[in-house]
């Protein structure tokens, strides 16, 4: 894991002191709310429906036990005893008082955390594959690059007042678990024909009200040039991105309006002028950051663990959990364990302070002190001995974090929606809760197989509904909550945007509608087909017919 040095510690301390002064000036009336807003936003503080919300950065989703324990402390001390893990691998606390915000940031700084640039029109937390460093299909650990980007983008003087927010994601594997094609910039580590590792650079993806799939602007960028190339893209965007219309200000609109060829021309021209300058990344800088992400000291393990195999046969629950929640690890005898934050009836992504503390203890005992947060709003213990799986499973079950539903119908992504958010048109969380209750039968869930449902409470698409196999978008119809359904979205390496299947359905009907779609799939599917595969083969028609025939 990355650990702060003296520079990092000084920086974060100076940042908190600066924010404390800004809050003081706001409370004294020296700053107007308009002037204060971007300052609090770049410190992660939003004004929501009921209170201030603090969004804490979890860089590329990696946490130590001590950091997780601090999040529990923040939840208890400054909030109502829980937190909400987000689709950007961050955590949000929904009930913060403005007067307490700087104290909370001080507490976070004590464990090398901050809320820097989790909001505002700046470069946000760079996200990565939650299995970084341990996935079997990985070319190189993307977190090295996320950390390099985190440092470069921290209070970047030129890019703190961009036309709009800016999100970067990095994947180190050909199987994309970081949704890089729906980010402002997506970086995909790849090898060129000589075997050298570099980046495919993708720009102009995004969701929101105008979803777009990112376009490849450069097939292969040598690693040492990463920052100069990013700076060239950001500069082209900062100068030419639209500032006349909030809804057209993201880089995707610029790329769409001028075309990817013209965007490439501008970026390459800027890059030519700066590529060999001070942003060049010499090997020793890359190596120094890489060393922070060296694998932990794994111990030799037996090839087959009989206790695991025995329990697999004896317990159907354990067998199901192994199937969905445990993934293969690059180190023999180890496993990646995914913790579901989607038990039946719970708000997706929420964790109580007690759960956070328990996870911190489990990470210390079973996962080399390391925890990950996934963009699908679950947690991961990345370094677990297979021999520990039975014990760990029992401990997780005791704190309701062993629901065997990763990737299944109840593993729903949902934004906070109208329960919390000032922008929402409709509630998201209750819809997710009702779906998980309808499909509570785990045998049925496992029979349905992989199915990604994603729910957004408004067109800003924080719940990523455009890339859900089934997407659900809350809309307001004359003061009533309605839900528009899309099918066929995909946020992985085969990125696709879902298509609207027909008229929106009422809040009362939405769960029945989802069940009808699932039943249609079960009737039509061929062996081995996931929901999205069947949809791609048969198209809209059978789903549409079944869904709207009754109406």
């Amino acid at each position: 894991m990355y650990t702060y040095d003296e520079h990092d510690r000084t920086f974060v301390a100076e940042r908190v002191a600066q924010f404390r002064d800004q809050v003081k000036r706001r409370l004294l009336g020296e700053l107007t709310e308009e002037q204060f807003k971007p300052l609090r936003l770049t410190n992660g503080l939003y004004l929501q429906l009921h209170a201030y919300m603090l969004r804490v950065a979890i860089p590329y989703g990696t946490l130590s036990s001590a950091q997780m324990r601090m999040l529990a402390h923040i939840a208890r001390r400054y909030d109502r005893g829980y937190g909400h893990f987000t689709t950007r691998q961050n955590i949000q606390f929904n009930w913060i008082k403005l007067e307490d915000a700087a104290d909370a940031l001080d507490d976070l700084a004590s464990v090398e955390m901050h809320a820097l640039q989790t909001s505002g029109n700046c470069i946000r937390n760079t996200t990565a594959d939650q299995w970084a460093g341990v996935a079997i299909d990985e070319i190189e650990d993307p977190r090295i690059w996320c950390e390099i980007i985190r440092q470069w983008s921290s209070l970047h003087p030129e890019f703190t007042f961009l036309p709009r927010k800016f999100k970067i994601a990095v994947t180190g594997s050909p199987n994309d678990r970081a949704a890089v094609r729906v980010h402002d910039i997506g970086l995909r580590l790849r090898r060129d024909e000589k075997g050298e590792v570099g980046f495919e650079v993708i720009v102009g993806g995004g969701l929101g009200r105008t979803p777009m799939i990112g376009k490849t602007i450069r097939e292969f960028l040598p690693k040492r040039h990463l920052l100069s190339y990013l700076e060239a893209i950001l500069r082209a965007y900062n100068l030419a991105g639209r500032r006349d219309n909030l809804y057209k200000a993201r880089i995707k609109i610029l790329v769409h309006e001028i075309g990817v060829e013209e965007m490439r021309r501008r970026v390459e021209a800027e890059w030519a002028a700066i590529r060999d300058g001070a942003l060049d990344l010499p090997p020793q800088t890359i190596d120094a950051i890489s060393r922070h992400f060296s694998p932990p000291a794994y111990e030799p393990q037996p090839a087959v663990d009989l206790a695991v195999e025995r329990l697999r046969l004896e317990s159907v629950s354990f067998a199901r959990w192994l199937k969905t929640n445990v993934a293969p690890h690059r180190e023999p005898g180890y496993a990646i364990v995914n913790l579901s934050l989607k038990p039946e009836g719970a708000p997706p992504g929420d964790a109580s302070a007690a759960q956070m503390e328990a996870v911190a203890d489990l990470a210390l005992a079973h996962s080399h002190d390391e925890i990950r947060v996934s963009h699908e709003q679950n947690l991961v213990l990345p370094h677990v001995k297979r021999a520990d799986l039975p014990t760990l499973w029992r401990k997780l079950a005791a704190i309701d974090l062993a629901t065997p539903n990763l990737g299944l119908v109840s593993d729903i992504i949902a934004c906070p929606g109208l329960d919390y958010c000032a922008l929402a048109n409709a509630r998201s969380i209750p819809v997710a809760q009702r779906i998980t209750r309808r499909f509570a039968d785990l045998k049925r869930q496992h029979d349905i197989g992989e199915l990604k449902i994603k729910i957004s409470g408004c067109i800003n698409a924080c719940g990523h509904h455009h890339v859900g196999h089934i997407g659900i978008l809350g809309v307001d119809k004359n003061g009533e909550e309605f839900y528009q359904i899309t099918l066929g979205g995909d946020g992985t390496e085969t990125t696709a945007l879902g298509r609207i299947i027909g008229p929106a359905v009422s809040a009362d009907d939405v769960v029945d509608a989802i069940e009808t779609l699932v039943e249609t799939y079960l009737q039509k599917r061929r062996p081995g087909e996931r929901f999205v595969d069947t949809y791609r083969r048969v198209g809209d028609a059978p789903f549409k017919e079944r869904l709207y025939a009754a109406a």
Partner: protein, 168 residues
């Protein structure tokens, strides 16, 4: 407008001349980018200090051929949240090598002052002279910088390399 430069309030020797008015003979004069483009040769031949004021939508490359003969470039922040002038400033300093006064005008606030300085600004037109000391304090808010920019300060990565080379 009070002018902050070299860490203190100074007398502003420059006059802004609108596009329709004749130029004064000797005084340091700031003209618009449009006028500069239209009357470039006469302006450069005038033999008195010359400054140009750019809007934040103007392309700085048009100044490339004359950059050494300009004494001042003024950039605009129509709203503090419109950050285009940061990129213009860095382009002027780092790519075109502009060495004269780079002046921030418009919605120039304390909380953005350090960003401006890092991008290469060295003069600020501020609305309230009484706030000048707060601007100067704001320049010292941070001692650690993670990226190279237009002010020539060493970034953390360079300091770390230097430190590890020292140990080796």
């Amino acid at each position: 407008m009070p002018l902050l430069k070299d860490g203190r309030l100074v007398e502003d020797p420059w006059r802004i001349i609108d596009d329709a008015s004749p130029l004064p003979a000797r005084e340091p004069t700031i003209v618009s980018f449009a006028r500069f483009q239209a009357e470039r040769d006469q302006l450069l031949a005038r033999g008195a200090p010359l400054g140009v004021r750019l809007r934040n939508s103007d392309a700085i490359d048009a100044l490339a051929g004359a950059i050494d003969r300009l004494d001042l470039i003024a950039l605009e922040f129509p709203k503090f949240s419109d950050g285009r002038a940061y990129s213009q400033a860095r382009g002027l300093r780092e790519r075109l090598g502009f060495a004269g006064e780079l002046r921030a005008t418009g919605d120039v606030l304390i909380d953005q002052a350090l960003f401006m300085r890092r991008c290469g600004f060295d003069a600020w037109e501020i609305a309230d002279a009484a706030k000048a000391p707060r601007f100067v304090e704001a320049f010292a808010t941070f001692s650690v910088f993670y990226q190279p920019a237009g002010d020539g300060r060493a970034a953390v990565s360079a300091l770390r390399r230097f430190a590890s080379a020292g140990r080796a």
